[in-house]
Symmetry: D2
Subunit: 338 residues, 4 copies
């Protein structure tokens, strides 16, 4: 067994803590060597809680730390692209939470820097590592599903968000970007050429005038004629809901049955099964698998299973969807490319 990969975590919030815990508890091939977060004391606190020695308030210290082979970027989305560039320039491999960038220009800069440095870049589209989705892809690759005709992917959060803290286009750039990537993943070899999106503030209608979009439907056309539908809503009374469906010429695969487990209680109200309540519960193993795949790519020098190019393609769809809402018409992907 070669030495474990030294990982620094950038960002100590909800996802940062979770990724840190995954590295410490569930990834024997990696070792958490540092945590960085500009919030006073935050990095030290998480490092101590996880039993990983160093906490840095200044991310620049990460690049100077010789124990750091790779970074996991889980800071706010607007900082992602610059951190990928910085990591690459410092010769560090980088796992970056989605979205990798908020503009195509930034995405290109990140991709170029990574290519120039020859480091591994993997983007956090965790659904590709979830067992149901992986199994659907196996059915596709084996030809069992035939040629995809109608695809669907949806994401529903359990609600409780603060409308004042939702920037415009969040539903496209941070939520549906998962579904856009999933639809691409489930129709390998085809590319999305046009989208049409409708979106509104239905959970928080009072915030509609300030541009909040909390519910959206996006129809995508692939270059072979196949159609995809991506849906998202920021509130589901029953918890966290992620599902997918592929109707192909050979049959249909459905992913994500929403059940928390196999227990059913039958009582006066009927039969009740628990529903999933959060992403870290539903995707715990997927989060472990994606970081495991990243660590493996770093160790083997192999390519990452989700690339910067994948991140860029999903971003282009998200930008086109946002533009479609503004323009009230279908938008071709090549319209958002200048």
């Amino acid at each position: 067994m070669s030495a474990p990969v030294g990982v620094a975590l950038i960002g100590s919030g909800r996802m940062g803590s979770f990724h840190g815990e995954t590295v410490v508890r569930r990834l024997p091939g990696a070792r958490l060597v540092a945590v960085a977060d500009p919030a006073p004391g935050a990095a030290e606190r998480l490092a101590a809680a996880l039993g990983a020695g160093r906490g840095y308030a200044d991310v620049a210290r990460v690049w100077e730390d010789p124990a750091v082979d790779a970074v996991v970027v889980a800071s706010p989305a607007r900082t992602h692209a610059a951190l990928v560039v910085a990591a690459a320039e410092a010769g560090r491999h980088v796992f970056c939470e989605k979205p990798m960038a908020a503009t195509l220009a930034d995405a290109d800069r990140a991709i170029d820097a990574v290519r120039a440095a020859g480091v591994v870049l993997q983007v956090g589209f965790n659904r590709r590592f979830a067992p149901d989705w992986r199994a659907a892809r196996v059915l596709l690759d084996a030809g069992t599903l035939g040629t995809p005709r109608l695809l669907r992917s949806l994401t529903r959060d359990p609600g409780g968000f603060d409308p004042a803290r939702v920037p415009p286009d969040t539903i496209f750039l941070e939520t549906l970007i998962h579904d856009f990537d999933t639809l691409r993943f489930l129709h390998p070899g085809a590319e999305v050429v046009e989208v049409h999106a409708v979106a509104d503030a239905l959970v928080e209608p009072g915030w509609r005038d300030r541009g909040l979009l909390d519910t959206a439907v996006v129809v995508l056309r692939f270059d072979d004629g196949a159609m995809g539908v991506a849906e998202a809503c920021f509130e589901a009374a029953y918890g966290y809901d992620v599902r997918g469906e592929v109707l192909g010429s050979g049959g249909m695969a459905t992913m994500g049955d929403g059940r928390r487990g196999g227990l059913a209680f039958s009582g006066p109200a009927g039969r009740v099964v628990e529903t999933v309540r959060g992403d870290q519960e539903l995707f715990r193993d997927a989060y472990t698998a994606e970081l495991g795949a990243f660590v493996e790519a770093v160790r083997s020098g192999g390519p990452a299973p989700v690339t910067g190019e994948d991140a860029r393609a999903a971003l282009a769809i998200a930008l086109a969807a946002a533009e479609s809402v503004r323009a009230g018409r279908p938008v071709r992907i090549d319209e958002v490319e200048k």
Copy 2:
């Protein structure tokens, strides 16, 4: 199309009314021509409600009525055997609700009378006509399930019964007799040779001393070594529950998923599906199919799909199970045969 079979209904209670409605509404090959019930006015009332002309307080009138080709016996269980004999002696075909008899001697008398008269006798083991069970039998007959090893059949009623009106051995003679027939149906070619039963008053413990048995488990051995488990309880908080399972060398069939329909409501409590609440709801189509098969047998002169011999075999198992509880030991079927 030949003329419809003229049917007289004997018994106008819960099952009688339901069978009457089935004949009138859902069986084009039959015509309800009379209803008989000794309770004053009962026969007339049901006849009027169903739009069938005659109501008889005296069942003897049925045998004199030339419009009557066949009778459906849905009177109290203790009257069944004598009515089968009377019907046969009057040259009428007879569909008899289970149990056909309460003793093996009565069962033999009924079978002999029917054989002597050359009429059709069918017994009301409706589960044989329910789609799930029929489909399991198809899998068995096709060899897909292989040789049965472990079988299960269970019946749970929704409760609300009056303990004072439950005669001893009801759970064996009227409830589990369905499960005993089902287990025989699901292991064609084999016969039950021994049973061991445990039973108690768990729903109404206060009635235990008066001999109430409201919950029971019966283990059956088949002559090829296969094992069956029959279970019953007079109260399930979630409704009416009938299920079956066959584990064979080729796989497993499970019957009866307990769902009322395909609707699911996902809300704060999780995902809820309605459960089945009553036998006439669950088995409506099975009740129609069994009467339809009876009418068909009458019209074609063919054999009935559930015979008096089937009824006798299930009765022997029920009697042995009741004896097993009394004796506190396994009882061989040949012990109840004298």
Copy 3:
């Protein structure tokens, strides 16, 4: 019990035969008195098979037949509107298969004729009578689902169609019109204001140039901001698939679980459940319930549960969807109203 309603069936094809069988076998309140079909001998053959006396090659004979109280129109779609008008002018109640008309002008003529004659008109949107959908509406009306935000309805046929016999816009006017009505049914009080549709020949790509559309996705906006998605495909390898979903502020209802029954076979390949294979299998009870409701409306003089206005509203959505495909942009419903 009042006298049964005398019903004449117009059209003796697949749906006509099925409706005829329903009237004869499953609707005690109605009597089939005539069948009309211009194809030589067709009406007589079906009338004989169903045991209903008269067969007419000339539909005009129906209007002269005093035994006819009501007609069930199951002839080709293009003849529907004129037959509704003729029935109304002859003073007959009319149940008309969908679509009631192919243009809004024809729909208006039918509605006007019915109103002038004071007869009952009901349109064949059978999904409103299917248990799952009815139960979802109960949850809506009770407030359990809260305010609908995202709705979905889909229809997939088992395939095997003849591309040469599919007129343009069939997928909208004959298939998706069910889904459009369903979405309106599941969001009572709101109306659709805009649609955007994409459609293609994916099952039969070779027919794309002749205008075949066999796969479609339609996004609908309601006047309160809610979003609906309707999907259809003319071929599903696994059979006939009709589903629905409502995500409301109070939770989610899902309708149509695709299972043929409760039997599951677990074998070397995993666990297998049969899927539904055809509409008459899935919706047998719904077809009975809708004709039963029609007969009840005729007998009671009450209003029909699905009106000509409902048919017109669904038609407007279908026409707008077809136009959206042609124009490549969202189309407002008021654009198809001149």
Copy 4:
């Protein structure tokens, strides 16, 4: 965070390797410090594969190793009791795979030694830690299920066993002992007083004469009248199947839905879901949770969640069941106590 618990693994077979991997990869609170196995080279090989330094062919070396705080016993069943005694006498905490002993006398010796030494003893009834079963117990403890009346627990292995290597009573002492413990776990406060068992060689009928029992049904009576059914079969064509059910006065809980994941494939054969194929797949998280609970008990000095007394009670049921098969009659638990 206190120092991790130093764990030595005794036994390097299938379960030993799995437990070792769990300690190394999924239990941050424990450290694997040694592996012991008398087979030449086996301990060293597993220790090297897991990255844990020392491998001992002589288990006595474990007791001399000061880095060992606790042992995980995963050696052949016949060695368990003596190893528990040895561990206790050496002052080491001990996690012992089931069965803890093959006789009640051995069980008592193990319990006494542990008590005298004041060490923690936990027995490997992993089902208590599986999410579905844990959730059922929560429903029981909360009163939602009411008083248990009918309980069921079953175990089916995927087959492929070597009949020549199955000692008599294996099905009771090694397989059904899980179900006996589960039934006790699901009816807290009650004790089993009598069992009746039937068993046979149905998978391998040719081995019947040599005493092979590969299929069994056991009915258990609790002291409050409740009834339990335990079933086992050494071969299920569809994989590994563990299920449970509790029917209580308040409703029913069902555990173990047999699905490998949430993916369904609908194709020409119907809808197919993958079934679970092995225990380590089904219970991976349960195995981790039970070892985690053991480590926690060691660190906190708290009691183990599954005690030697639990192991003894399940053993008594297993011995009574084996005796019931031999005697062909129900056997009271107090009959196996001398």
